[in-house]
Protein backbone atom coordinates (compact mmCIF):
# COMPACT_ATOMS: atom_id res chain seq x y z
CA UNK A 1 0.00 0.00 0.00
CA UNK A 2 1.54 3.31 -1.01
CA UNK A 3 2.31 5.99 1.54
CA UNK A 4 -0.69 8.21 0.76
CA UNK A 5 -3.06 5.29 0.84
CA UNK A 6 -1.61 4.14 4.14
CA UNK A 7 -2.22 7.48 5.75
CA UNK A 8 -5.75 7.58 4.38
CA UNK A 9 -6.40 4.10 5.70
CA UNK A 10 -4.97 4.97 9.08
CA UNK A 11 -7.08 8.10 9.17
CA UNK A 12 -10.22 6.18 8.36
CA UNK A 13 -9.46 3.66 11.08
CA UNK A 14 -8.75 6.44 13.55
CA UNK A 15 -12.15 7.94 12.79
CA UNK A 16 -13.84 4.60 13.31
CA UNK A 17 -11.91 4.09 16.53
CA UNK A 18 -12.98 7.46 17.88
CA UNK A 19 -16.59 6.68 17.02
CA UNK A 20 -16.41 3.32 18.72
CA UNK A 21 -14.74 4.78 21.79
CA UNK A 22 -17.44 7.40 22.18
CA UNK A 23 -20.12 4.74 21.88
CA UNK A 24 -18.46 2.49 24.43
CA UNK A 25 -18.02 5.34 26.88
CA UNK A 26 -21.72 6.06 26.67
CA UNK A 27 -22.63 2.59 27.87
CA UNK A 28 -23.86 2.90 31.47
CA UNK A 29 -21.07 2.42 33.95
CA UNK A 30 -23.12 0.23 36.17
CA UNK A 31 -25.70 -2.17 35.10
CA UNK A 32 -27.07 -4.81 32.98
CA UNK A 33 -25.87 -8.25 32.34
CA UNK A 34 -27.40 -11.63 32.76
CA UNK A 35 -25.81 -12.46 36.07
CA UNK A 36 -29.01 -12.33 38.10
CA UNK A 37 -30.78 -14.68 35.74
CA UNK A 38 -27.84 -17.07 35.71
CA UNK A 39 -27.52 -17.12 39.50
CA UNK A 40 -31.25 -17.66 39.85
CA UNK A 41 -31.12 -20.79 37.71
CA UNK A 42 -27.77 -22.02 38.98
CA UNK A 43 -29.09 -24.42 41.65
CA UNK A 44 -31.04 -26.28 39.00
CA UNK A 45 -28.21 -26.45 36.48
CA UNK A 46 -26.36 -29.33 38.10
CA UNK A 47 -23.12 -27.49 38.79
CA UNK A 48 -22.05 -24.80 41.23
CA UNK A 49 -19.91 -22.66 39.00
CA UNK A 50 -21.66 -20.04 36.91
CA UNK A 51 -19.39 -20.13 33.85
CA UNK A 52 -19.52 -23.92 33.66
CA UNK A 53 -23.31 -23.81 33.98
CA UNK A 54 -23.52 -21.33 31.14
CA UNK A 55 -21.13 -23.31 28.95
CA UNK A 56 -22.54 -26.76 29.52
CA UNK A 57 -26.17 -26.14 30.34
CA UNK A 58 -27.67 -22.77 29.55
CA UNK A 59 -25.67 -22.29 26.35
CA UNK A 60 -24.87 -25.94 25.84
CA UNK A 61 -25.86 -25.84 22.22
CA UNK A 62 -23.12 -23.30 21.49
CA UNK A 63 -20.54 -25.51 23.18
CA UNK A 64 -21.76 -28.51 21.26
CA UNK A 65 -21.31 -26.70 17.96
CA UNK A 66 -17.96 -25.40 19.11
CA UNK A 67 -16.73 -28.98 19.45
CA UNK A 68 -17.97 -29.63 15.93
CA UNK A 69 -16.08 -26.57 14.68
CA UNK A 70 -12.91 -27.87 16.28
CA UNK A 71 -13.29 -31.14 14.40
CA UNK A 72 -14.09 -29.37 11.15
CA UNK A 73 -10.89 -27.34 11.44
CA UNK A 74 -8.99 -30.60 11.82
CA UNK A 75 -10.66 -32.06 8.74
CA UNK A 76 -9.77 -28.93 6.83
CA UNK A 77 -6.17 -29.15 7.99
CA UNK A 78 -6.03 -32.80 6.95
CA UNK A 79 -7.36 -31.91 3.54
CA UNK A 80 -4.70 -29.27 3.13
CA UNK A 81 -1.72 -31.37 4.06
CA UNK A 82 0.73 -32.11 1.32
CA UNK A 83 3.55 -34.53 1.63
CA UNK A 84 6.05 -32.11 3.05
CA UNK A 85 8.30 -33.62 5.61
CA UNK A 86 7.20 -33.55 9.18
CA UNK A 87 9.55 -31.46 11.24
CA UNK A 88 12.89 -33.04 11.96
CA UNK A 89 13.75 -32.07 15.46
CA UNK A 90 17.07 -32.05 17.17
CA UNK A 91 15.85 -33.97 20.15
CA UNK A 92 18.96 -34.89 22.04
CA UNK A 93 18.57 -32.26 24.71
CA UNK A 94 18.88 -33.92 28.09
CA UNK A 95 17.34 -31.07 30.03
CA UNK A 96 14.28 -31.10 27.81
CA UNK A 97 13.83 -34.85 28.10
CA UNK A 98 14.19 -34.83 31.86
CA UNK A 99 11.86 -31.87 32.25
CA UNK A 100 9.21 -33.40 30.05
CA UNK A 101 9.47 -36.74 31.82
CA UNK A 102 8.68 -34.91 35.03
CA UNK A 103 6.06 -32.55 33.64
CA UNK A 104 3.84 -34.84 31.62
CA UNK A 105 2.43 -36.86 34.53
CA UNK A 106 1.92 -33.64 36.47
CA UNK A 107 0.08 -32.11 33.54
CA UNK A 108 -2.16 -35.15 33.24
CA UNK A 109 -3.05 -34.78 36.89
CA UNK A 110 -3.65 -31.07 36.48
CA UNK A 111 -5.95 -31.73 33.53
CA UNK A 112 -7.97 -34.28 35.46
CA UNK A 113 -8.19 -31.87 38.37
CA UNK A 114 -9.35 -29.02 36.15
CA UNK A 115 -12.04 -31.25 34.69
CA UNK A 116 -13.31 -32.22 38.12
CA UNK A 117 -13.10 -28.82 39.76
CA UNK A 118 -14.93 -27.11 36.91
CA UNK A 119 -18.21 -27.87 38.62
CA UNK A 120 -17.31 -25.75 41.65
CA UNK A 121 -14.51 -23.41 40.65
CA UNK A 122 -12.86 -21.99 37.56
CA UNK A 123 -11.89 -24.88 35.35
CA UNK A 124 -13.66 -27.31 33.10
CA UNK A 125 -13.26 -29.40 30.01
CA UNK A 126 -11.65 -26.80 27.75
CA UNK A 127 -8.95 -25.83 30.17
CA UNK A 128 -8.23 -29.47 31.01
CA UNK A 129 -8.23 -30.49 27.37
CA UNK A 130 -5.83 -27.71 26.48
CA UNK A 131 -3.46 -28.73 29.28
CA UNK A 132 -3.56 -32.33 28.05
CA UNK A 133 -2.85 -31.16 24.52
CA UNK A 134 0.06 -29.18 25.91
CA UNK A 135 1.43 -32.33 27.49
CA UNK A 136 1.11 -34.07 24.12
CA UNK A 137 2.94 -31.20 22.45
CA UNK A 138 5.76 -31.45 24.98
CA UNK A 139 6.06 -35.15 24.24
CA UNK A 140 6.10 -34.43 20.53
CA UNK A 141 8.96 -32.01 21.06
CA UNK A 142 11.02 -34.78 22.59
CA UNK A 143 9.91 -37.63 20.40
CA UNK A 144 8.07 -36.52 17.29
CA UNK A 145 6.57 -39.88 16.46
CA UNK A 146 5.43 -40.89 19.92
CA UNK A 147 1.80 -41.00 19.03
CA UNK A 148 1.97 -42.47 15.57
CA UNK A 149 4.16 -45.32 16.71
CA UNK A 150 2.06 -46.47 19.61
CA UNK A 151 -1.51 -45.33 19.91
CA UNK A 152 -2.47 -43.61 16.68
CA UNK A 153 -5.60 -45.67 16.14
CA UNK A 154 -6.83 -45.09 19.68
CA UNK A 155 -6.00 -41.43 19.49
CA UNK A 156 -7.94 -40.96 16.29
CA UNK A 157 -10.88 -42.82 17.76
CA UNK A 158 -10.84 -40.39 20.66
CA UNK A 159 -11.53 -37.51 18.29
CA UNK A 160 -15.15 -38.48 18.05
CA UNK A 161 -16.59 -39.05 21.56
CA UNK A 162 -16.69 -35.37 22.51
CA UNK A 163 -19.27 -34.53 19.90
CA UNK A 164 -20.92 -37.94 20.00
CA UNK A 165 -21.57 -38.07 23.74
CA UNK A 166 -22.85 -34.51 23.71
CA UNK A 167 -25.21 -35.40 20.88
CA UNK A 168 -26.39 -38.60 22.54
CA UNK A 169 -27.07 -36.83 25.84
CA UNK A 170 -29.00 -34.18 23.97
CA UNK A 171 -31.07 -36.70 22.10
CA UNK A 172 -31.53 -38.76 25.24
CA UNK A 173 -32.93 -35.70 26.96
CA UNK A 174 -35.49 -35.46 24.21
CA UNK A 175 -36.47 -39.08 24.73
CA UNK A 176 -36.93 -38.35 28.43
CA UNK A 177 -39.44 -35.65 27.64
CA UNK A 178 -37.51 -32.44 27.28
CA UNK A 179 -36.11 -30.39 24.43
CA UNK A 180 -32.78 -31.18 22.81
CA UNK A 181 -30.12 -30.79 25.52
CA UNK A 182 -32.68 -30.12 28.23
CA UNK A 183 -31.16 -32.38 30.87
CA UNK A 184 -33.38 -34.03 33.48
CA UNK A 185 -32.81 -31.88 36.53
CA UNK A 186 -31.91 -34.64 38.97
CA UNK A 187 -29.04 -36.04 36.92
CA UNK A 188 -27.93 -32.83 35.22
CA UNK A 189 -24.70 -32.67 37.19
CA UNK A 190 -23.65 -36.19 36.28
CA UNK A 191 -24.58 -35.67 32.65
CA UNK A 192 -22.49 -32.53 32.53
CA UNK A 193 -19.51 -34.35 34.01
CA UNK A 194 -19.96 -37.13 31.48
CA UNK A 195 -20.08 -34.71 28.57
CA UNK A 196 -17.11 -32.77 29.89
CA UNK A 197 -14.98 -35.88 30.39
CA UNK A 198 -15.32 -37.01 26.79
CA UNK A 199 -15.13 -33.45 25.53
CA UNK A 200 -11.83 -33.00 27.34
CA UNK A 201 -10.36 -36.07 25.65
CA UNK A 202 -11.58 -35.05 22.23
CA UNK A 203 -10.41 -31.48 22.63
CA UNK A 204 -6.98 -32.67 23.73
CA UNK A 205 -6.57 -35.09 20.84
CA UNK A 206 -7.90 -32.59 18.29
CA UNK A 207 -5.62 -29.81 19.44
CA UNK A 208 -2.61 -32.09 19.56
CA UNK A 209 -3.38 -33.45 16.10
CA UNK A 210 -3.65 -29.92 14.78
CA UNK A 211 -0.13 -29.41 16.05
CA UNK A 212 1.50 -32.72 15.22
CA UNK A 213 -0.35 -33.77 12.10
CA UNK A 214 -0.87 -37.38 11.32
CA UNK A 215 1.64 -39.78 9.82
CA UNK A 216 -0.40 -40.60 6.78
CA UNK A 217 -0.64 -37.12 5.31
CA UNK A 218 -0.59 -37.06 1.54
CA UNK A 219 -0.50 -40.83 1.40
CA UNK A 220 -3.21 -43.40 1.17
CA UNK A 221 -5.58 -41.63 3.52
Amino acid sequence: MTGMLRWAFAGLLALLAVGLVSVVLQIPEIGGGLRSQVMAQLPESGVDHAVTAVLLNFRGYDTFLELVVLLLALFGAWGLSDSIDEAQLDTDIAVLTELVAFLVPVLILVAAYLLWVGAYSPGGAFQGGAVLAGAGVLLSLCDPGWRSRRIERTAELLLVPGVLVFLLVGLGSMLLGGQFLEYPKDIAGSLILLIEAFAMLSIAVTLHTLFAGTPRVGGDR
Binding site: I84, Q127, A130, V137, L207, L210
Partner: protein
Amino acid sequence: MVAMTLLNWAFDIALGSALLWLAWRCLFTRNLFESVVLFVAFGLLMTIAWMRLEAPDVAMAEAAIGAGLTGALLMSALARLERPRTGQEDSP
Protein backbone atom coordinates in the same frame (compact mmCIF):
# COMPACT_ATOMS: atom_id res chain seq x y z
CA MET B 1 -6.80 3.29 50.47
CA VAL B 2 -6.15 5.99 47.92
CA ALA B 3 -2.72 4.47 47.38
CA MET B 4 -4.31 1.11 46.51
CA THR B 5 -6.61 2.68 43.97
CA LEU B 6 -3.70 4.59 42.51
CA LEU B 7 -1.67 1.40 42.34
CA ASN B 8 -4.54 -0.44 40.67
CA TRP B 9 -4.89 2.28 38.09
CA ALA B 10 -1.17 2.41 37.44
CA PHE B 11 -1.09 -1.33 36.97
CA ASP B 12 -4.06 -1.37 34.62
CA ILE B 13 -2.71 1.50 32.56
CA ALA B 14 0.71 -0.16 32.37
CA LEU B 15 -0.82 -3.47 31.37
CA GLY B 16 -3.05 -1.91 28.74
CA SER B 17 -0.19 0.07 27.26
CA ALA B 18 2.04 -3.01 27.23
CA LEU B 19 -0.65 -4.96 25.41
CA LEU B 20 -1.03 -2.30 22.76
CA TRP B 21 2.71 -1.85 22.37
CA LEU B 22 3.33 -5.59 22.11
CA ALA B 23 0.57 -5.90 19.51
CA TRP B 24 2.09 -3.10 17.48
CA ARG B 25 5.62 -4.53 17.64
CA CYS B 26 4.38 -8.01 16.90
CA LEU B 27 2.50 -7.01 13.80
CA PHE B 28 4.94 -4.53 12.30
CA THR B 29 8.30 -6.19 12.69
CA ARG B 30 9.90 -7.72 9.62
CA ASN B 31 11.40 -10.57 11.58
CA LEU B 32 8.85 -13.40 11.62
CA PHE B 33 10.41 -15.16 14.57
CA GLU B 34 10.15 -11.96 16.57
CA SER B 35 6.48 -11.74 15.58
CA VAL B 36 5.75 -15.18 16.93
CA VAL B 37 7.64 -14.68 20.16
CA LEU B 38 5.96 -11.33 20.77
CA PHE B 39 2.59 -12.93 20.06
CA VAL B 40 3.20 -15.52 22.78
CA ALA B 41 4.23 -12.74 25.15
CA PHE B 42 1.07 -10.89 24.17
CA GLY B 43 -0.94 -13.97 25.05
CA LEU B 44 0.69 -14.16 28.47
CA LEU B 45 -0.07 -10.52 29.19
CA MET B 46 -3.62 -11.17 28.07
CA THR B 47 -3.79 -13.88 30.71
CA ILE B 48 -2.91 -11.30 33.35
CA ALA B 49 -5.48 -8.93 31.86
CA TRP B 50 -8.16 -11.57 32.16
CA MET B 51 -7.29 -12.00 35.81
CA ARG B 52 -7.53 -8.24 36.30
CA LEU B 53 -10.96 -8.42 34.70
CA GLU B 54 -12.01 -11.12 37.17
CA ALA B 55 -12.29 -13.84 34.51
CA PRO B 56 -10.26 -16.79 35.82
CA ASP B 57 -11.83 -19.30 33.44
CA VAL B 58 -10.93 -17.14 30.48
CA ALA B 59 -7.42 -16.64 31.88
CA MET B 60 -6.85 -20.39 32.04
CA ALA B 61 -8.18 -20.88 28.53
CA GLU B 62 -6.05 -18.05 27.19
CA ALA B 63 -2.89 -19.31 28.88
CA ALA B 64 -3.26 -22.87 27.66
CA ILE B 65 -4.85 -22.32 24.27
CA GLY B 66 -4.14 -18.75 23.27
CA ALA B 67 -0.54 -18.47 24.35
CA GLY B 68 0.56 -22.09 24.62
CA LEU B 69 -1.03 -24.02 21.80
CA THR B 70 -1.19 -21.15 19.36
CA GLY B 71 2.46 -20.45 20.08
CA ALA B 72 3.35 -24.07 19.36
CA LEU B 73 1.33 -24.01 16.13
CA LEU B 74 3.00 -20.77 15.03
CA MET B 75 6.51 -22.01 15.76
CA SER B 76 5.85 -25.24 13.91
CA ALA B 77 4.45 -23.38 10.91
CA LEU B 78 7.34 -20.93 10.93
CA ALA B 79 9.85 -23.78 10.92
CA ARG B 80 8.17 -25.40 7.95
CA LEU B 81 7.87 -22.08 6.18
CA GLU B 82 11.56 -21.35 6.33
CA ARG B 83 12.79 -24.80 5.49
CA PRO B 84 13.53 -25.58 1.85
CA ARG B 85 10.85 -27.74 0.39
CA THR B 86 11.44 -31.45 0.21
CA GLY B 87 9.14 -34.10 -1.14
CA GLN B 88 6.55 -33.94 -3.86
CA GLU B 89 3.41 -31.93 -3.82
CA ASP B 90 0.01 -33.49 -4.31
CA SER B 91 -1.55 -32.85 -7.65
CA PRO B 92 -4.28 -30.26 -7.19
